[in-house]
């Protein structure tokens, strides 16, 4: 995308000898904040509304009291304009213009082709492009999905489901496994070598599971391992990551384990900052929730 596509109207320019009052009136009439200054058809400067504000009496009464009455009265454009403005060729990419604007803190570029001023591209014009991109390519319905995996067989389906939903919505995915807090050893503080291995091993297993669930799709998945109370950790991380959805595996196994998993989903619904999706384990029929 080139900056010439942002030039929607013929360039409005001004001469260096025009009075500042007339220049300001022109800006207000046309709803613009920057005017390229042309002398004998060549670009010699850029007049910005902010430059005029700076040259005008102070808005702070204790400073303004030292200003002359109507300080703009005798000023012309050449007194206030920025000399040697940044000029870009119409074929410059929007990406490059955006980089230049932020690296050099430029508010407005003059677009110049063979010494002829074709128009002005402002930060606001560039942000309009960003607005369009965000609207069409990065819809915000679902920005982040947190997939909590228990690493038990049968719950891989939940991760697969999370990845599928995220891929459809263009959302980022974090796969999280929570290790129940390591049993407390009195007198011992900090992580032991054993804890580190345990976490590292779990992280590798999460990564393997994510690779399997991706099923060949190119999709970025951040893999994380946390320690603590399972539901609380998942909810906390969802809050931090600003997740829009938490996906967990619902193991519909009978007995103590089944009851526990059900409790996890229930607890999450209470604790989570966003909706929770419980995916039945692979092969379960009508038993999951």
């Amino acid at each position: 995308m080139k900056i010439k596509t942002l030039l929607t109207r013929p360039a409005i320019t001004i001469g260096p000898a025009t009075s500042i009052r007339d220049a300001r009136a022109l800006m207000r009439r046309r709803g613009i904040r920057h005017l390229p200054v042309l002398e004998h058809g060549r670009l010699v400067g850029m007049l910005a509304e902010r430059g005029i504000d700076r040259a005008d009496a102070s808005s702070a009464p204790e400073i303004g009291v030292h200003d002359w009455l109507d300080p703009l009265a005798d000023l012309v454009v050449a007194d206030v304009m920025t000399r040697g403005p940044v000029a870009l060729h119409p074929e410059t990419s929007v990406a490059e213009a955006a980089r230049l604007a932020c690296d050099h803190r430029v508010d407005a570029f003059a677009v110049v082709d063979c010494d002829e001023v074709a128009g002005v591209v402002t930060r606001s014009d560039l942000l309009a492009v960003l607005g369009g991109l965000l609207e069409h390519r990065h819809p915000t319905g679902l920005g982040h999905v947190l997939a909590a995996t228990s690493l038990r067989p049968g719950t891989r389906r939940a991760l697969g489901e999370a990845l599928r939903i995220a891929a459809t919505a263009g959302a980022a995915v974090t796969a999280l496994h929570v290790l129940p807090a390591a049993s407390f050893v009195p007198g011992l503080e900090g992580a032991t070598a054993e804890d580190v291995t345990r976490v590292e091993r779990a992280r590798r297993r999460v990564a393997d599971e994510a690779t399997a669930a991706r099923a060949g799709r190119a999709q970025d998945v951040t893999c994380e391992v946390a320690e603590g109370t399972v539901a609380r950790e998942i909810a906390r991380r969802a809050e931090e990551l600003d997740s829009d959805l938490i996906v967990v595996g619902a193991e519909a196994r009978p007995g103590i384990l089944g009851a526990f998993v059900e409790t996890l989903a229930d607890r999450l619904v209470r604790l989570a900052p966003c909706p929770v999706l419980a995916v039945p384990r692979s092969g379960a029929r009508g038993a999951g929730r």
Binding site: K2, R50, H66, A101, L133, L134, D242
Partner: protein, 143 residues
């Protein structure tokens, strides 16, 4: 994409009783277009470079150059700050934040949780995002 993904956490802030001179120096040091004005962690306003330009003595001031800096160091931010600035939450869609910034000519948008300031969305960061998004686009889609 939401505001939280692109905001700066713990942005520099200024107290309403600090001076315009200090606000100007903070803006320059952090390369920012605007500073949240914060009193006991609560956002009470915003001061931007344009506000400072408006507060600057005119081209026809009777003040000497040295006196200008001195005056700016004596006038408090609360004299010129914008009260009740536009603000967003961390979960606001980024596209809405961009729209708001364009509509109100803002160079930065404070991000709040309740009254508390938790971040700042800056125009520069959004321009960098634009460049990054366009550069990841396959070249064939360009005109």
């Amino acid at each position: 994409m939401r505001v939280a993904e692109r905001m700066r956490r713990e942005p520099p802030t200024v107290d309403p009783r600090e001076s315009l001179g200090r606000a100007g120096r903070l803006l320059a040091r952090h390369r920012l277009g605007a500073l949240p004005v914060v009193r006991r962690h609560a956002l009470i306003g915003l001061i931007d470079a344009a506000d400072l330009d408006r507060a600057h003595p005119s081209a026809a001031t009777t003040l000497a150059v040295g006196e200008i800096a001195d005056r700016l160091d004596r006038v408090r931010v609360e004299r010129v700050l914008r009260h009740e600035p536009a603000m967003v939450g961390r979960r606001t869609p980024l596209v809405d934040a961009v729209r708001l910034m364009r509509a109100r000519h803002l160079t930065a948008l404070p991000v709040v949780a309740g009254e508390r300031l938790i971040g700042l969305l800056t125009e520069d960061d959004l321009l960098a995002l634009l460049a990054a998004l366009l550069e990841e686009e396959p070249p064939s889609t360009g005109p």
